[in-house]
């Protein structure tokens, strides 16, 4: 497995799991207009994952679905942040914003890559994520401006902060700190990042549910 494939799978797994989590809000989001909008964000994320898996699949001689569904749990490289199951709106928005902020930093680095294919896909993803960032910021601004929202949001941000740091490699973390502190106009707690490498308990449950239909027919069956 090359470094390139490793990187592609890391990005893809993040987008896949986050997209899967975000898609859980379809039908039950706080109000209808938001439900429709948030579902598009989730679908975009799955779309990003698919495109990234396809690049990796070419190198590995397999297909995107096999990479998305059929790997053993230990082989997923998703960040713990995206694996948490938090069907609670303040946490969902906090994670959404933290992830998009981190991802913007990561994508900016990739867009500068010598690997033109990688740079190209990073640019495409980034162009779609502009809208995700607009959406996330809009919600952050709105929630901090309300009594009910402010406390819940800050609590959620504090809880998720160590996980957010873990999305990025060491060298990119200071930039995340800078951007988050600038937006929130506060200092974030100095904590240890929850890094990749170990999986949250909820991932096993998610993976099980994600694959239950697929596993009900032999490998290679069409769905």
């Amino acid at each position: 497995m090359t470094d390139r494939v490793d990187l592609l799978l890391t990005l893809a797994d993040d987008e896949l799991i986050l997209g899967w989590r975000n898609s859980e809000w379809t039908g039950i989001a706080p109000f209808l207009e938001e439900d429709v909008a948030f579902s598009s964000i989730a679908q975009n994320e799955i779309g990003h994952a698919r495109a990234l898996y396809e690049l990796a699949a070419r190198e590995l001689g397999t297909d995107a679905d096999a990479l998305a569904f059929d790997r053993p749990l230990e082989e997923y490289r998703s960040a713990p942040l995206v694996e948490l199951r938090r069907l609670e709106w303040a946490r969902t928005i906090a994670r959404h914003w933290l992830y998009e902020t981190a991802d913007a930093i990561r994508l900016a680095a990739l867009k500068a890559s010598d690997d033109t294919e990688l740079a190209g896909i990073a640019a495409k993803i980034d162009r779609e994520e502009v809208y995700h960032r607009i959406h996330a910021e809009m919600w952050i601004d709105r929630l901090v401006g309300t009594e009910a929202g402010r406390a819940r949001l800050h609590e959620a941000l504090d809880e998720l902060w160590p996980y957010a740091l873990g999305v990025l490699d060491d060298d990119l973390r200071p930039e995340l700190v800078r951007r988050v502190e600038e937006k929130l106009r506060r200092t974030m707690p100095a904590v240890e990042a929850v890094s990749r490498g170990r999986h949250e308990a909820e991932l096993a449950q998610l993976h099980d549910e994600m694959t239950m239909v697929r596993r009900s027919a032999p490998a290679g069956a069409r769905w």
């Binding site: 899967w20 898609s23 859980e24 379809t26 039908g27 039950i28 989001a29 706080p30 109000f31 209808l32 207009e33 439900d35 429709v36 579902s39 598009s40 989730a42 679908q43 799955i46 779309g47 994952a49 698919r50 898996y53 995107a64 679905d65 998305a68 569904f69 069907l87 609670e88 709106w89 709105r142 929630l143 309300t146 009594e147 009910a148 929202g149 819940r152 998610l206 549910e209 994600m210 239950m212 239909v213 697929r214 009900s216 027919a217 032999p218 069956a221 069409r222 769905w223």
Partner: protein
């Protein structure tokens, strides 16, 4: 009936349309609001049986298509509740009534979805049954409703393609996959037969008289049977009604559904009704602080 109401009735009967600010007889307004509200409730409740399967979709493409389909249904609920709101009833009041069991939603959304086969059958046949009614509503006398039906019908056409694709893939797959479809069909046939409602004649149906519906229930059902029974049979699948057959005049005969059962189901006594309402109540409670913090009432 007073003169103004008679004029109004003549107007809608001759194909005249009604806009939001126009004068309407009380009976028209009440019936119309209730009808659109039930439609909105149905879209809102309809997402629940299918949501679970978003998380279990077996390929990335199916995941995307199914999520998009359900997203469309949420979008339809939005369009429909807007119509109800502009008729004077806020969506929060609609939700209150729905959760308290004071209003209804279509029978098919009171049933459990047990397998991926259900996902296929719903997208293929339930959406097909719905499209038939929805196409008839394009001629509704209340223009704001008729107009949104255009968008709804356009989006539903994607759902039917998706449903058909899922079904065709399953029936040409393993024996187990084929069996998923047959088994789901066996369970969904009864609710499908009831979907278009009891065969009240058009001239006895007040909804038709007011120009809200333009098609009698039985005509809709016949259209459904004519369009879809052959599609089912040509795949070698069976339907659990021995009496189902097409006569020489092209009319479908079938075992008469139990109309009282239909009434009981839509009033909240279906196999999954209580569970679904409870789920909606819980998820609303969970996010209530958000809509109150961010949107109190529509201006």
């Amino acid at each position: 009936m007073d003169g103004r109401t008679e004029e109004f009735l003549a107007h809608v009967r001759s194909g005249g349309v009604v806009e939001t600010g126009d004068w309407m007889p009380d009976e028209y307004r009440t019936r119309l609001t209730k009808f659109v509200e039930m439609h909105a409730n149905s879209e809102l409740m309809g997402v629940l049986p299918e949501r679970d399967w978003i998380l279990r979709a077996p390929t990335l493409q199916r995941k995307l298509a199914l999520t998009a389909k359900i997203q469309d249904e949420v979008g339809h609920a939005q369009l429909l509740y807007r119509v109800v709101e502009d008729l004077g009833k806020p969506r929060e009041a609609c939700l209150d009534d729905l959760l308290a069991g004071r209003s209804k939603f279509h029978n098919v959304f009171h049933y459990p979805t047990l397998t991926w086969g259900d996902v296929g059958v719903i997208a293929w046949l339930v959406d097909a049954a719905a499209i038939i009614s929805q196409k008839a509503l394009l001629k509704c006398s209340y223009a704001p409703y008729a107009r949104i039906m255009r968008k709804i019908c356009w989006e539903e056409s994607f759902h039917i393609l998706h449903g058909r694709d899922v079904i065709l893939t399953l029936v040409t797959g393993t024996d187990g996959q084929r069996e998923l479809v047959q088994e789901a069909l066996d369970r969904w046939w009864e609710p499908l037969m009831m979907f278009h409602g009891n065969p009240i004649p058009a001239d006895e149906d007040p909804m038709v008289q007011w120009g809200i519906k333009s098609q009698a229930n039985e005509e809709a059902r016949q259209q459904f049977l004519e369009g879809y029974v052959p599609q089912v049979w040509e795949l070698g699948l069976t339907l659990p009604d021995r009496a189902l057959r097409r006569d020489d005049e092209g009319r479908w005969a079938y075992t008469e559904p139990d109309w009282e059962k239909l009434m009981a189901v839509v009033s909240g006594h279906g196999p999954a009704s209580a569970e679904r309402i409870a789920f909606r109540r819980l998820s609303r409670a969970e996010v209530d602080w958000v809509s109150r913090a961010v949107l109190a009432e529509a201006a």
